[in-house]
């Protein structure tokens, strides 16, 4: 496989994942705005921060308001990480690696792009928002299904998985990075109504509410939420889950190519951390520092994969 193709696949699946994550963050923000009176603008600021698009937003807009924040996240031409831009970039990468994809995958990506061009041609009104967000998730579901159902399990597939899970780990990491303080065990705010809403926000932004209750029951608190999002091996968006998938796929590549490369060492170090730490040790170390360590290690890993597999000249 061409190095360029590996890079194109990696980024294609990162952008696809990014588009869906953005839609989930918008949904969460919208939900909070609807269920809470008053200062939901703070919530939009943290949504923008989590999506990593806050700086760009404040350069263009003086104040943070729901309507402009949603438009920024969905389709503003000045936001390179908007849903529309992400889907466009995913499709552009898909065109680049067209020969590595099955017809089904290409058509699903192209179909998503066509849907987004139409649905995001103009500002999305409040009434249409749920439909548009649903369309994003549904289309990603189609691409994912086509990928799983039709692609060979070879190095091509490995790069699609690595892209997906690095992006997802990054997303979960950012959610925790922005909201870590509501998970800190301070005697002061435990059990307050505010925290319940904040906890729910976190779970919603990873579509994890149902799974969480299934595992930990109704009355669990921040410690369990942190455990669930960082260490849980069953939760498909936890840092542990995502990082071990990245490690597994790098491992497949390594045995496929009969060559062990530095990126595998990095991935093993990262996922190894989750095996040796329990949640109390993480709180002792400092939740915020811990999350930042992981995010920075993921960035290094991304760069190393790029070098190891010759994405660029």
């Amino acid at each position: 496989m061409l190095g360029k193709t590996a890079g194109g696949l990696f980024w294609m699946y990162r952008y696809l994942e990014r588009a869906e994550n953005a839609s989930r963050l918008i949904e969460t923000g919208q939900r909070i705005a609807l269920t809470r009176a008053g200062n939901s603008d703070d919530e939009w600021a943290s949504v923008l921060r989590t999506a990593g698009v806050h700086d760009g937003y404040v350069q263009k807009h003086d104040k943070i308001a729901k309507e402009t924040a949603i438009d920024w996240m969905l389709r503003d031409a000045d936001n390179p990480s908007s849903v529309l831009a992400s889907v466009e970039k995913a499709r552009s990468n898909a065109r680049l690696v067209r020969t590595a994809l099955t017809h089904d995958v290409w058509e699903a990506v192209n179909g998503w792009y066509m849907d987004m061009k139409e649905a995001l041609a103009r500002k999305v009104g409040e009434r249409d928002l749920p439909k548009v967000l649903g369309l994003i998730r549904q289309n990603h579901g189609l691409v994912r299904g086509a990928t799983q159902g039709t692609m060979l399990r070879n190095d091509i597939y490995d790069f699609t998985r690595i892209g997906t899970f690095i992006e997802r780990a990054d997303n979960t990491g950012r959610i925790l990075d922005v909201k870590y303080y509501v998970l800190l065990p301070t005697a002061f705010s435990v059990g307050s109504n505010l925290d319940n809403v904040q906890w729910e926000t976190i779970l919603r932004s990873v579509s994890g509410g149902g799974g969480f209750r299934m595992v930990y029951g109704q009355d669990s608190g921040p410690r369990e939420i942190a455990q669930f999002l960082i260490l849980d091996r069953r939760m498909p968006r936890s840092l542990n889950f995502c990082c071990s998938k990245v490690r597994d796929n790098l491992n497949f590549l390594s045995s496929d190519y009969a060559r062990r490369l530095p990126s595998l060492d990095l991935a093993e170090t990262i996922s190894g951390r989750f095996q040796t730490h329990d949640i109390d040790a993480i709180f002792d170390y400092g939740l915020h520092e811990y999350i930042q360590d992981i995010l920075s290690a993921l960035r290094d890993l991304g760069r190393q994969i790029e070098i190891d597999y010759r994405f660029y000249e």
């Binding site: 496989m1 061409l2 190095g3 360029k4 193709t5 590996a6 552009s92 065109r95 680049l96 067209r98 020969t99 017809h103 290409w106 058509e107 192209n110 179909g111 066509m114 190095d155 590549l253 190519y257 060559r259 597999y309 010759r310 000249e313």
Partner: protein, 472 residues
């Protein structure tokens, strides 16, 4: 043009033999169902991403080439004659290229003036004395044909550089099979779907000396913004080979190699969709970022096959075209089976005088032009356009050739008010290898969608049709 030959209907309104079934079938259909099918076809094309990028627009825009659902039908007998003529012509073109890059016997014999070769921009001096692997110059050729009557076909031009459009031939058929399976059940149409496999086999058969084991084939594209990128990706995908760009390649140990996830791996046969000028910045245009520095040196040393060979453009030059009947006769010893359109070479004083006197009757083309750009269709031009073109012609007569305006045949398209005749041409695709010449039955039919228009180019608003060659 009412005096054009219509391929479906006779002058009395009856159906011609090849169309007997198809014509009746379309008559029996509910127009609203056909309209729905036409929309469905468009959806299919859009979803598959069968688009082309439009040149000369700031924003890279992808457009669909309009597809018409009425097939163009060619009888077995007609096709037999055409394919014999095409094969003869393609053999002559390869012999001509071999000759002009070696002893130039045709010039010595006085059949072509030496300046037609030596002063021709498409002549590539780097190719002098080089014999490509397998002796094949034009691995892929597209011969543009037009029909003017029951038995008269003319070659409009030869495409010996990098003919495009074959993906449309294949996708048009796939679309028709999906939409009108019942039509195919009742007629016996020769399949075209074998083309990608035949292309791969044909390219692999031309592997260079340096190749060991199964030859590695790759397609070289200028990139995703090229107007034909879809086709490049399509062909690489269908052949199961890598689609590479210049920056994926470099010369390693005397071979052209591609950067893979495991390191650099040599390529044996490169099907390039990049023009000669851009192929090698060390040997041709130094500012080209699309090619591979040093590929020509590897090529001359037998380290890679480039398809088509550099320098084949001289065979599809429009001035050389006018010599094609001589070229065919010189190399095959036979009269050309396919006719040439009579052509005035404007660099000859008599011819220029005639062309200037009859400008409003003629079609004038740039010698190196393509895609329908820079040409004049006399009968359709305004006085102002004629005057402007006259100036260009007088300033650089050698840049132009002129031909009579042919009454191109028509085939009906499906319009809002039913079937209506439109002018068409045909581009059959030909593969050449040491194993022989392979012509896919049919080819790409291009159709001028505007009533009366003679310009079928997709860049100028033309569409395409599925082309059927019937079994005997």
């Amino acid at each position: 043009m009412s005096d054009s030959f219509d391929e479906m209907w006779t002058a009395q309104g009856g159906l011609r033999d090849p169309y007997e079934y198809v014509g009746k079938w379309f008559d029996d259909q509910d127009p609203s169902r056909l309209r729905a099918k036409q929309r469905e076809a468009e959806e299919l094309f859009r979803l598959t991403g069968i688009t082309f990028n439009v040149y000369g627009r700031a924003e890279a825009e992808e457009r669909l080439i309009p597809f018409d659902i009425v097939p163009r039908v060619i009888s077995a007998r007609e096709w037999q004659k055409l394919s014999r003529g095409i094969e003869q012509r393609v053999r002559a073109i390869n012999a001509f290229l071999q000759d002009i890059y070696h002893r130039q016997e045709i010039v010595r014999a006085g059949r072509i003036p030496v300046e037609m070769i030596s002063k021709n921009d498409a002549f590539v001096p780097n190719m002098i004395g080089v014999t490509p692997p397998g002796g094949v110059y034009t691995h892929i050729v597209g011969i543009d044909l037009v029909r003017t009557s029951e038995n008269e076909f003319f070659v409009l031009e030869d495409n010996a550089r990098t003919p495009s459009g074959v993906s449309y031939m294949l996708e048009n058929r796939e679309t028709m099979l999906k939409m009108f399976p019942e039509l195919f059940a009742a007629t016996r149409v020769r399949p075209v779907s074998d083309y990608p496999r035949a292309l791969h086999r044909s390219l692999a058969a031309c592997a260079p000396r340096a190749a060991t084991g199964t030859p590695t084939v790759a397609v070289l594209t200028p990139g995703i913004y090229n107007s034909a990128y879809f086709e490049h990706a399509f062909l690489a995908d269908q052949m199961g080979v890598e689609l590479v760009e210049g920056h994926d390649l470099r010369v390693v140990d005397g071979r052209v190699a591609m950067r893979t996830t495991r390191g650099y791996e040599p390529i044996d046969v490169l099907y390039r969709r990049v023009d000669d000028d851009f192929l090698d910045p060390l040997n041709f245009r130094p500012d080209s970022a699309l090619g591979v520095p040093g590929i020509m040196d590897v090529y001359r040393a037998g380290g890679i096959t480039i398809a088509n060979a550099p320098g084949t453009g001289i065979a599809d030059d429009k001035a050389i075209y006018s010599y094609m009947p001589d070229i065919v006769e010189f190399y095959t010893g036979e009269k050309a089976i396919l006719q040439n359109v009579p052509t005035w070479r404007c660099n000859e004083a008599d011819a220029l005088a005639y062309v200037l006197d009859n400008l409003s009757e003629l079609v004038v083309k740039e010698v190196h032009g393509s895609g329908g750009y820079g040409m004049l269709i006399g009968p359709a031009a305004s006085k102002k356009e004629l005057a402007a073109f006259r100036k260009k012609l007088e300033a650089r007569p050698g840049n132009y050739i002129a031909q009579p305006t042919l009454a191109l045949s028509t085939v009906p398209i499906f319009t809002r008010s039913g079937l209506a005749p439109r002018h068409v041409d045909l581009r059959p695709f030909v593969l050449v290898s040491p194993e022989g010449i392979n012509i896919t039955p049919g080819g790409l039919t291009r159709v001028a969608l505007k009533k009366g228009s003679l310009v079928v180019n997709s860049s100028q608003g033309g569409g395409t049709k599925d082309t059927w060659v019937l079994e005997e």
